[in-house]
């Protein structure tokens, strides 16, 4: 890519992440840089419901004549992901033969991934390793930008580390990148963001063979305990002792208890009960027992 816009085909950069990470800031930096070079730029994003914690994406397209504001699937020259699982969500947008995939290896596990109350249930979150994904794409760069930024003293500069890595995939001068970044970040953080950018860039330049960074974000070291299939339990309610204080009803995390017409406790959703024993422990009248024969085997 040279300065004359006429020589280029439309370049497509897809930037994805989690709400609050700075996806929009990153794409504005890139769009401004392209604009400075006289390219036609379209940058398209969706916000609204995904204010915080939701999946966020921004399409940046630049070239001589850009039509569609969004990148067609399979045509992103660069896919830049600020969070591990978000990059995987968009992987099919990456151009398969030549596309560059840049991702932070940091996991942001959404609360939605931790809803399964079954005994032994694990998170609903990507189990893939950076090695596996880097091998799958044409050009893969997986780095722990979050830790790199933390080491510099500001976790929030991780997106600038990634901009540094992105800069090696596009043909703009380092000074121009740094100038635009300086214009976008709060004045107090200009220095740390410059360092973050250069760190991300230096890593990518060295990463010819080793395209997965050390240190890596923790990779699912969890050992899932063995759960016996017939690990049954029983909730015993002694109605004679219940005085209808309602504590168990309010505190049951699965909301499976209720007071009946006589204002005494009853189990309305036995299928939801996980045997967590909160009701048993909190009942001031010892009216609830959780009977589980195999409990000894379970305690870790």
């Amino acid at each position: 890519m040279r300065n004359q816009a006429s020589e280029v085909k439309t370049m497509n950069v897809l930037i994805v992440g989690v709400g609050g990470q700075g996806v929009i800031m990153v794409s504005k930096v890139l769009a401004t840089l392209c604009q400075m070079h006289g390219y036609q730029v379209k940058q398209s994003e969706v916000h609204g419901m995904a204010k915080r914690g939701g999946s966020v994406f921004s399409h940046v397209r630049f070239g001589e004549q850009v039509w569609s504001p969004t990148i067609p699937a399979g045509e992103a020259d660069v896919l830049l992901s600020l969070e591990w699982a978000e990059g995987l969500r968009w992987l099919n947008y990456l151009e398969p033969t030549n596309g560059t995939y840049i991702t932070d290896t940091q996991h942001i596990v959404p609360p939605f991934a931790c809803l399964n109350r079954k005994r032994g249930a694990d998170k609903v979150y990507s189990k893939e390793t950076p090695e596996q994904i880097v091998a799958e794409v044409a050009n893969g760069l997986a780095l722990d930008a979050t830790t790199m930024a933390s080491d510099l003293g500001n976790l929030r500069a991780s997106n600038t580390v990634l901009l540094g890595t992105l800069s090696t995939a596009l043909d703009f001068d380092v000074d121009e990148w740094l100038q635009v970044i300086s214009d976008f970040v709060p004045p107090k953080t200009i220095d740390i963001n410059r360092q973050a950018f250069l760190k991300g860039r230096a890593w990518a330049e060295q990463a010819k063979d080793e395209t997965i960074s050390e240190p890596l974000a923790p990779q699912l070291k969890t050992v899932i305990p063995e759960i016996q299939a017939n690990d049954d339990f029983e909730l015993r309610l002694t109605r004679e002792w219940c005085k209808g204080c309602d504590i168990c009803v309010k505190m049951c995390p699965e909301r499976c208890l209720a007071l009946d017409a006589e204002q005494l406790v009853e189990l309305i959703h036995p299928e939801r009960c996980t045997g967590c024993r909160v009701c048993e422990w909190l009942c001031p009248d010892f009216a609830i027992d959780v009977i589980r024969p195999s409990v000894q085997k379970m305690s870790a």
């Binding site: 504005k28 401004t32 379209k42 916000h47 609204g48 039509w67 569609s68 969500r89």
Partner: protein, 608 residues
Amino acid sequence: MDDLVKKTTTKKNSKKDSQRPMTGNEALARGAWEAGVRVGSAYPGTPSTEIMENLSKYPSEDVAAQWATNEKVACDVAIGASFAGVRAMTSMKHVGLNVASDALMSVTYIGVNGGLVLIVCGDSGIHSSKNEQDSRVFAKFAMVPCLDPSDAQEALDYTKLAFDLSEDFDTPVIVRSTTRLSHTRSTVKVGKRVEKPSKGFVDNPSKNVMMPNNARVRHPQLIEREEKLKEHFATSGINKWEKGRKDIGIITMATSYAYVKESISDASILKLGASYPLPDKLIADFCKSVDRVLVVEELEPVVEDEIKVMGFAVEGKKYFSRVGEFSPEIVRQGLEAAGVLEKRDLAPAHDQRITPRPPVLCAGCPHTSGYMAIRAMNGRVMGDIGCYTLAAVEPLRSIDTCVSMGSSIGNAIGVAKAGLESKPIIATIGDSTFLHSGIPALIDAVYNEVDITVILLDNHITAMTGGQNHAATGKTLRGEETHRIDFEKLINAIGVTWVKKIDSYDVATMYQTFREAAEFKGVSVVISDRPCVLDPVKVKGPSLTVISENCVACQSCMNLGCPALSWSDEWYDGHHKVKIDQDACIGCSLCAQVCPADSIRPLEAEVH
């Protein structure tokens, strides 16, 4: 941030001072300002919110830009300014037009004095709405011209043009955007503001007072106006004919045009800048000039049907869906299905790996506790529109319905009057939504004597759309101090005798108060009060931490659905223990309050 964009560009591009990257919404606001608009009024709604926010960045001497209580008030304010003889606008999301439509259907008969423009932003694909209705249908219904810009430059140009058309043809004009246009940033060449001298109020009761005798006279004049607009659009240049292949012609508009251009370079194209009214002769000439005509339009077959009525066998919805947002892929697939383009066999290169990540209430969101407590009440809960609609899904799942802005209270009255419900009947509504259209329903509840509990979730801002002021924040759109509505006084004045205000972060009081309110026979109102954690200021207190050895993995705190809480790698009795992301935690303490094992404590205390 937007100022910074401008700064950077001007620095580098001193020669191209007039070229700036702008979102569609920024360009729409710029176009109105350049056209000399003097009054702008709107109620926030995604994706339209930033239009009025951007208009308010221009000097107050140029334009009065303000938030209205709802879209109808906004539209009436703009109509009033037009009566007074100045150029005026209102902006809204597509469903906002439903609220404003009563005024629109009348002002279309009246016409304008100062130019009157309604900017209506659709949400095809339903990114952040309750439906994806096609506003072009409304334009036809109201017989007002509808302009359809395809990018930010046209958004600016068409908005300016809309004011001229409005005055030249004595009609309100709709400029239609969609999420994709409103939220796409592209290069825009800007111009200078043109000051339009005020014409003053024109005394003309037979035109300005819509009553039967006058309306009967105006209706045929509307039909004449429609004819004149058709003639005008045939030659005005707003509809562009790009000559190409003779075997295939495509009629398209708005962002669909960009997708067509992305997919096919040599077809004959008629790009409609105005989707209503259609210039019959131009359309006929185009249809006759090619062997086959496809109409590519998002959502309803508005243009396709019109052209079919003209007697041309065009095709459209046969290949291009009536549902959802278009994309270059979808348009290409449609052209492939129609046999215009070669079929491409694009097998995805990678497995689909989807980690579910739906939007959630923020860490520390004051709505969270309210819905936990509401769920425990085991009531029949009518929801409303706002961030808190997210309480419809697990783990907070506690609202049973959500219809439209302000519907919750009216719906609750209906459930009560049906007389079949044995559970407590509850309506939950946010502060901004209550002001928007909840107040008339609350009056109705008192007037018709029902037994319901209204929970007013007052987070002191219009949160869902990104933090806009309203009549109960004490601040205007421009951030100036103004009168602040006092909810307690207002609700008392309506005649509600049972009103209590509680702190949204006090879970025990909340459970107790909700129960008392439900037990009260008649209309009871609980105001759950805490500012939003994002706006107007970002709240960040000291983080809490989980003392892992005490955690019994009961998942009580996980029922909050707080994004700062997730499973740690430790287990207790077959279940994951919990950890807190200290960066995300704002220290609201809700999780500590619901923890039965007292294992969540302030981080500071732990260190010492």
